[in-house]
Structures are given as C-alpha cells and as structure tokens.
Subunit: 204 residues, 4 copies
C-alpha cells in the first residue's frame, strides 16, 4: 500500500523463484527415487527449505508432479522449436538420447518420463495432463511435417502426417527405454541407425 506496485511485484517474483527452487529439487528427487519413494522431506532438504514451506507454493505432492509435467511440455516445445532451426534431426535426437543415457538429474530424465506415463494409467489428473501435453507435441510435429519445404517444413502430404508422426514418436520414445535397458548402446550406433531409416520418414 505504502509503495504500490513494486512490493507486490517483488513478492510475486520471489514466489516464482521459490516455486522454481522446489520444482528443480523435486525433479532431482523424482529422478533419483521415483515419484512415490521421493518424500516431501527429501524435496525440502534438496531445496534447502523446511517441508512446511513447500505447501505455501504447492497444494500438495500431486500438484508438484503436475507442475513438472507442464515443465516437461515446455522443454519439449523448446526442443521442437530447435528442430525447425536445424536440418539435422538425427543429431538432435541422438543428443537427447545421450542425455537420457547419462541420467543427469538436472535435465529431462528418461526414467521420469516413463514413470510419469505409467502413472497416467492410475491418476486421472496426470492422465489428462500428459495426454494434453502429448496432443500439443504431436500437433507441433505435424505442423513441421506438413509445412512447405520453402518455409522450413518437410512438405509431407496431409494424409501422410499422422503416420509419419506416429513412427517418429515411437522411435524417439523407444530410445528413452533403450537409454535405460541398453546402457552399452553408443550414441554413434543410434546416429547410424537413424541415418539409415529416418530419411524415408522425412521425404515428401
């Protein structure tokens, strides 16, 4: 009231920063322990705050999970945007595969992605969020496929888009499982395989 505007903005900024701190900590904990095994105390410790404080910024544990899903959607959107910029889809996918294999708790985790998807079969809220996220992702991929080559797209015909997107997604998401189940699979092998089979998917 005394200094209008500013203090509120400052407080809002702090709140956002705190939410971010919590989400980063939660992501690490979820990657390391899994959704259910990671405790709020775990997350609080990792975030360097008391457990109770988390509830000022999130309604509960489930709320954190949903926020993490949205984070992943935004990261995915950013990745898609990069696809537009680069002509080298193979290198992009291979890089993501490398990150998944390294299992760095700070970036998108393959394990988290799998567990999240599995959880969608049990939690209605999570199901809604993941399916919505997935729809957006497919739509973005589809736009890229269908756009004219002159505009940075692939110029694929409309009746082919769904099929191509499906296969491409299977390849990418399948690599998430390979990153875990086949730790001795090298990035180069992945590149080589993709170089051999992706072109037929990407040509009009």
């Amino acid at each position: 009231m005394s200094t209008p505007g500013k203090p509120t903005a400052k407080a809002a900024a702090r709140a956002l920063a705190q939410r971010e701190r919590i989400l980063v900590a939660a992501q690490k904990c979820f990657v390391v322990h899994g959704f259910h095994a990671a405790s709020m105390a775990n997350i609080a410790d990792t975030a360097g705050m008391s457990a109770g404080l988390i509830y000022r910024y999130f309604k509960g544990k489930n709320d954190i999970i949903l926020a993490i899903i949205e984070r992943q959607l935004e990261e995915a959107r950013a990745d898609i945007a990069k696809l537009h910029a680069t002509s080298d889809l193979v290198a992009g996918i291979a890089e993501v595969f490398g990150q998944w294999q390294a299992n760095d708790p700070n970036v998108t985790s393959a394990a988290l992605f799998l567990e999240l998807t599995a959880e969608a079969t049990r939690d209605e809220e999570i199901a809604v969020a993941t399916q919505a996220s997935d729809r957006v992702f497919r739509s973005l991929l589809g736009d890229w496929f269908v756009r004219a080559v002159a505009d940075g797209g692939l110029g694929v015909s409309q009746d082919q888009v769904a099929t191509r997107v499906l296969i491409l997604q299977c390849l990418i998401e399948g690599l998430a499982m390979r990153a875990i189940s086949q730790p001795d699979l090298s990035v180069d092998q992945v590149k080589s395989a993709l170089n051999q089979f992706l072109p037929s998917l990407l040509t009009a």
Copy 2:
C-alpha cells in the same frame, strides 16, 4: 527328513505353486496400483492368502518385483517364439498394442513395463535383471533376423542386425508409450503405419 525323497519333491512343487499364485496376484496389483502403491495386504488378498505367508516364499516386496521381471522375460521369450511362427509381424505387434491399450491386468502391461524400466535406474538389482532380460530378447530377435530365409529367418547380413533390432525395438517399445499417451490411436492406424515402414527393416 522323516519321510525322505518324495515328500520333499512334493513340498517343492507346492512351494513353486505358491510362488506362482503370489506372482500372478502381484502382477495384477502392480498393474492396477503401481509398484509402490500396491500393498502387501493387497497382494495377499488377491492371492487369497495371509500377508505373513508371502514372506515364506519371498524375502520381501523387492524380491517379488525381481521375480516379476523374470516372469516378463519368460513372456517376452514366448512372444518372440510366436513371431517365428507367424509370417505377419505387423499383425503380431498390432495385437500387442491392442492389449496394452486395453490395460488388461492379466497380460503384459505397458504401464508395468515402463515403471519397471524406470525403476532400473534406481535399483541395481533391478537394473541387472532388466538388462539381462533385454540382452536375451535382443539376442533372440537378432537370431531371427540373421537366420536364413529357408529356415524361417530374414536373411539379414550380420553387420545390419544390430541396427535393425534397435529400430524394431524402438518401434515396439515406443508403441507401449503410445498406448497410454494416445488412447484414441486405433489398432488400424498402427497397422497401417507399420505396413508402410516395417518392410524396409525386414528385407535383406
């Protein structure tokens, strides 16, 4: 000791049957609730026995999870065997996709598969088991690719096998995620996509 030979064999058979009862119940519970949310009481109820009795046949909950992984290996082997028998790989994969989408607690579950794989990044024992299982699976698939056409194989050259197996696995496992994240994807669409892209993978 008192009645040697026969009774022991009988007891061992009973023990195996009990383990099987428990595993079947556990699989159902895990599919429905997930590994961590499924309680031992749940499993005991489903198996129609007391909670305490389970500990005569398994060291603990983790021990059951490990056994479930081995069960899945067996089932995977059976699936591979069916691939040999059928000439129609596309129909086979599409059928599995349909089962995954239906999420029948009695057959291999996509969600369980994902959760299990995710868990492998956290539990060393599970990692070892899943990777061993995966190696066997790849080996069986590889054999089929490399075997002569006359012997029911595909006659693919040795230096192409790893690549082909990799792509095929990505497609199959990618469909596990599609079954969950894209519930409106029809079996026919999957068949159509596979029919378009599998041939290039399966020809020598």
Copy 3:
C-alpha cells in the same frame, strides 16, 4: 477352517475386547484433553498399544468419536431403565450430578457431553448421531411420563408430555454445566432444589 466355528468366535471376541480397550482409553483421553487435543498417540499409549493398531479396529479418529456417542446413548438408556425401577428421581439425578462434578474420566463426563454437543454444530455425522441419540432418549423419557401409574409410569396426559420432557431435560443438562461452572455447589443443594421443583413436573 481346521477347527470351524470356535477360532472365528474367539477372534471376534478378542476384536470386541480390543475395541472396548480403545474406547475406554479414548474416553479418558477425550475427557482429559478434549476431542481435538487428544491425539491418536495419546489414545494408543493409554490403551497400551501401538498407534497403528487402532486402525485395525476403527476407520479413524472420527469413527472412535461416533462409537463413543453410541456408548453414551447406551449408558443413558441404562440410566433411564433405572429411573423406572426407582421412585426417587431426585436422588438419581443428584447422583449423576455428583459424578459429573467429580469428573471421573472413567464414567460419563459432563465436559465430554458438552464438547460432543458443540461438535455436532460442525460435523454432520456427529450431528446425525447425537440427534438420533437424543430422540431415543426423549422417547424413553416420554414413555415413562405417559405410562399409567399402575405400570410404574407417571400417568401424565399426552398433550403434556413434550413440555414436561423438555423441562426435565433442561434441568438435567443444565446441571451438567453447573457441575463445571459452579464447583462449590453441593449435591445436597441440588437435591434440595430438585425436591422443591420437580414434583410439579411429575404429577399428572
């Protein structure tokens, strides 16, 4: 199964005994600390068991409260039955007042009665239970008023019953508050006052 009937009956008896142990402990704790301030750990300690065990016999804390209400109803029924037997209503009420003033955690507590009634304005389940209990109590009292003198009743006319029951209840329940707020009020003073004003209530 092996020894049918008996074991189940034994188990049921034990379960009932455990429920009773818990209810007795809960009543003590509720009297001493109040409904909300009494913790499940408190009750478990008082009952001489672990906190977790309580949940085998009660759904939760609210379930215990509801069971205590029913207990009180049964005790009230027993008290009413005694009224039938004795011609000395004044002595009976005065005795109850004495127990209330002593605040013995083992018998019906005035404080518990008040808190329970207050809670009924907030918890729908408790409201339903207390009102049902109250209806039964009033009905029993009314029967006694209306019954012929020859049958141990008071022979009060039908159109007078509701009024008489109302006043009598106010006097009894009012004494519950007096027992707390006026600790120096003697049982004899209560008797004297009741002897002076009850007769007009009890004559046809």
Copy 4:
C-alpha cells in the same frame, strides 16, 4: 517518549480497537470451526490483518480464548440488565433460545458456550475465568430475585435465592443444549413450557 501524553493515549485507543477487531473475528471463527479447528490464519483473514500482527495484541491463541470468555461475561451482564428492564422473562429467554438455534456467528453462540465450559475442565486459567464469570452472573441474578418488588425485583426471601437461581440457570443453560440437539424444537414450544413452569420460580 518523544511526544508524551497525547500520542500514548491515541496509541492505547488504537491498541484497544485492534484487540476488539481481533476478538470479533475470533468469535466468528470459533463459532464456525470451534476453538481448536479455527486457525490463527483464519482469524487473521477474518480480522483483515496479518497473522503476525495478532501477536502484538495477544500472547497467543489461548490468550484470545481467555479474552473471549471475558467478552461473554460482558454480554451476559448486558443480558441480565435487559431482564431488569423487561417484565417478560419468558419472552427474553425464548428470544435467546431462538438466537442459539439460528447459530448466528455474530451473537453469543450456544456451541461456543458449551465448548468453553468443557475447556474449563482442562485449562486452569479458563476454569478460573469461567467460574469468576459465573459467580458474577449468579450474583446479578440473585440481586434481582431478592430485590423488593417495588424496586423492580421479585422479593424472594434470602434463603430461597440460591435455589431459585440454580433452577433458573439450569433451565436457561439446558436450553443451550436443546437448541443444538433438538433442532425441530420451536420457540413457541419453549415459550409455552416456560410459561407453565417459571411462575412458581419467580413468585415470592
């Protein structure tokens, strides 16, 4: 110190106003949620101030409860004063009963009264406060009973006062419980009952 006299008086007045704001808010919250279930955050919100500020005016939650008791004493004194003014005691009591049944959070609440009394059996400070309050109330009622009819009193003899006050209080406080446990009891029924039994209490 810097501006002696006046500013201090102003500050004291402000402090009293703040205390009043808090007490009004607390009373509302206590009526709705009960003493223990009402949170300091609740009270702060209702009072339109921050939670921390309350601690400048009250030592803690218990301190607020004690202050509320004193408030009720003030209200009770006011009610007694009204009894003096009206010749119709029955109508006055019936009106209070109606307010109790309506459970208006802005006036004296029956539920709060009961909970407060119950709490007196547990908290020594509350016991002292309620008993002192009760003594004053009885004294005021007694004065009215004993005062000469010519002075607006009832002219009851000294040795009858205690008994009459006791019965009258039981009737009034008993109606507090009736208001909760017998929600279908009408104000008219109460009036009718009081009209029948009060006269014998009020005549010399």
